[in-house]
């Protein structure tokens, strides 16, 4: 009843091509933005920022990046962790080499480095497909981390072999480093997420996105109708790695503050992959929902039993949490194999008819 396009007339092509053609969607997005820019900062404390929301947003950016590659362009990647590492180490090198450079620009620049490396490791995708392609990205994963671990230049030869976010400010406000307030870092991460999500939404519905989907659905057919596989696939690798690179930079500089290569190990790659599968392949909204699901569920499972007065030994609690998490994933896939994004779509379809379904 409330959610339908009847009566919304478009008088210009621009209006017809808007990202959110339906007014209810625009309202929904506006409300989400108000919640994330105003309501959450008002209510959240440092625990919520540092333990829940900031990592969630950073994972969401990486998940959008991976979803572009895997969900839209159909190229399976297990190298997300490495591409994030490139972003983080590039940021570290750039901001220690040029201390006066605006850190926000540095984040974007390091995304470009990541994109470049992404293109190199994307080249095998022209010949190798499916799960086999995972090997190319796994090679990236292991090789790049080995390189960052081995070559002292990447961490300025400091004896601990780790990178630490130095204090940097923009317009007099601390963005990185230990003295940066959680709320500032929250706004930085949120702004990146909003801009990147909107950009991704626009890319995937345009010519580039459509050619990705054509390649994903059948690359030979796509080639016949005039889509260049080389250009299209490498573009997907580049943009995806760019997103992951920026996410990786934020991961260290706006969240962890300090890290060694271990923080980017293969488990991180798997984690981001879980997010897009649970969230829904080929959906920007799904990437964000998947990141939320995978981040929030374990925290919920950890904190829920003590909340209702059940005290369990910490190790038993963790094991139970793992089991429940596993069961929920399996259950969820059986109920809705196409992820949260599909669930969201079903809700929207229901809303069209609600409360008078025919």
């Amino acid at each position: 009843m409330f959610y339908r396009e009847a009566g919304q007339f478009k008088t210009t092509y621009e209006a017809d091509q808007g990202i959110f053609p339906i007014i209810q969607d625009r309202w929904f997005i506006a409300i989400m933005l108000v919640i994330s820019f105003v309501v959450i900062p008002y209510f959240a404390n440092e625990y919520w920022f540092q333990a829940v929301i900031i990592p969630l947003y950073i994972y969401a950016i990486a998940a959008i990046g991976l979803n572009i590659l895997t969900g839209y362009a159909g190229q399976v990647s297990l190298g997300t962790g490495a591409f994030m590492a490139i972003g983080a180490y590039a940021t570290y090198k750039l901001c220690t080499a040029f201390p006066d450079l605006n850190i926000l620009i540095v984040f974007v620049m390091s995304g470009l480095f990541s994109a470049g490396v992404g293109i190199i490791f994307g080249i095998p995708s022209l010949r190798i497909k499916g799960f086999y392609l995972a090997v190319a990205t796994l090679a990236a994963q292991f090789f790049i981390l080995w390189l960052f671990n081995k070559v002292g230049w990447f961490y300025n030869n400091n004896p601990s072999g780790t990178i630490t976010a130095p204090p940097r400010e923009v317009l007099g406000i601390m963005i990185t480093g230990p003295n940066a307030l959680a709320i500032t870092r929250y706004y930085v991460v949120l702004s990146f997420l909003v801009v990147f999500a909107l950009a991704a939404k626009n890319i995937v519905r345009g010519r580039i996105g459509r050619s990705w989907m054509a390649i994903r659905d059948m690359d030979i057919a796509a080639e016949i109708i005039g889509i260049e596989p080389l250009k299209t696939k490498l573009m997907a690798f580049a943009i995806s790695s760019f997103y992951c690179g920026v996410a990786g930079a934020l991961y260290i500089f706006c969240w962890l503050g300090s890290a060694e290569t271990e923080a980017f190990d293969i488990n991180l790659s798997f984690l981001i992959l879980f997010m897009i599968i649970v969230g829904g392949l080929g959906s920007i909204m799904g990437s964000i929902m998947g990141a939320a699901f995978i981040t929030l569920l374990p925290i919920f499972l950890t904190n829920f039993p003590p909340m209702i007065g059940i005290q369990i030994a910490s190790d038993l609690a963790k094991h139970l949490e793992e089991i429940i998490f596993g069961v929920l994933i399996v259950f969820f896939l059986i109920v809705e194999p196409h992820g949260l994004a599909r669930l969201w779509q079903i809700v929207k379809e229901k809303l069209r008819q609600w409360p008078f379904p025919y």
């Binding site: 086999y132 090997v135 599968i277 038993l316 089991i323 399996v330």
Partner: protein
């Protein structure tokens, strides 16, 4: 210059200098490679029969080994402990089929892959609740002695482990090539629906395959567990099997064997002779690079089924 020399000249001089040692390195590579093949085999079996890339294979190794050690600690004689563990793994296969696979028929590969990640969490949790997270010593009576042979130092534990793994791999390869069940399995792998239409019971095939994979996991758990103690890290050996799997092809049992040998020998030789020039610990990524190099020529793995694409 010095660096180039350490890559292009010195290693070969080293090899020429002591061919016996080179042989020892190769033999170590073969022994390690057979162990990788064993783990890879678990993946191949399941992928062949149900098209599932089973992320939980490592967790199955851990679960089987923990159950075996746990039973042995309770005083169960080793023979019976193995039997009971095997029964547990069959039960697990039945449960997986009933609770999971049955409901996910005809889903895309990546969805099934994700489901096995859920399974992975469940197995890790259950295994640790039941048997604890501590490291446990496993001794199934394999001989563990060093001996010299022609200037090479060999260890009977490594040899017997590789021998057992080799026997397992061969028996399974023959089983799936020459028995009725094996034929049925290959039929299912080719086409679910066609197999069902000629009367092959899909469900029991899946149970058999997952049980066999459970058995492979148990053997892998015993062999690796004897070397390193039974502990959580056993789940990580699955990572060692990935390049093998990709190199050999997901659907080929001989591929797993040859792939294991190539990776095993390749990474040992490179690490020992070329590793120092690069600062060491290069075998981790080298295995993947090697697999990648092979894939550039055979995109479906050495023995994988040729991908035929039609528009």
């Amino acid at each position: 210059m010095e660096f180039l020399e350490s890559i292009f000249i010195l290693p070969f001089l080293d090899i020429a200098d002591s061919p016996i040692f080179f042989l020892e390195v190769v033999i170590s590579g073969v022994l390690a490679g057979v162990m990788y093949s064993l783990v890879a085999l678990g993946f191949v079996l399941i992928f062949k029969a149900s098209g599932v890339f089973n992320f939980a294979q490592g967790a199955m190794v851990l679960f089987a080994a923990l159950t075996l050690v746990g039973l042995m600690e309770q005083g169960v004689p080793i023979f019976f402990a193995i039997l009971i563990t095997m029964a547990v793994m069959v039960l697990l296969a039945i449960l997986i089929e009933k609770m999971m696979l049955r409901h996910l028929v005809n889903q895309e590969g990546i969805i099934l892959f994700m489901a096995t990640i859920g399974l992975n969490f469940i197995l890790e949790g259950v295994g640790q609740i039941a048997w604890g997270s501590d490291v446990k010593k496993l001794d199934v009576g394999l001989p563990d002695k060093n001996f010299e042979y022609g200037g090479m130092l060999l260890n009977t534990l490594d040899l017997s482990a590789a021998l057992i793994a080799a026997i397992m791999v061969t028996v399974l390869a023959l089983f799936f090539q020459y028995t009725g069940t094996g034929r049925a399995l290959r039929a299912v792998a080719d086409d679910h629906q066609a197999a069902m239409s000629v009367g092959i019971p899909l469900k029991s095939i899946w149970i058999i395959v997952w049980s066999v994979a459970g058995f492979v996991a148990l053997v892998a758990g015993i062999l690796w567990g004897t070397k390193a103690g039974v502990q959580f890290s056993l789940v990580l050996i699955a990572l060692k099997a990935l390049p093998v799997l990709i190199l050999g092809g997901f659907t080929s049992i001989p591929g797993a064997i040859i792939g294991g040998l190539i990776i095993g020998v390749g990474e040992k030789v490179v690490e020992v002779y070329w590793g120092p020039a690069f600062g060491g610990a290069i075998e981790g990524w080298f295995a993947y690079m090697l697999a990648l190099a092979f894939l550039m020529f055979r995109p479906q793995g050495l023995f994988g089924e040729k991908i035929i694409e039609r528009v």
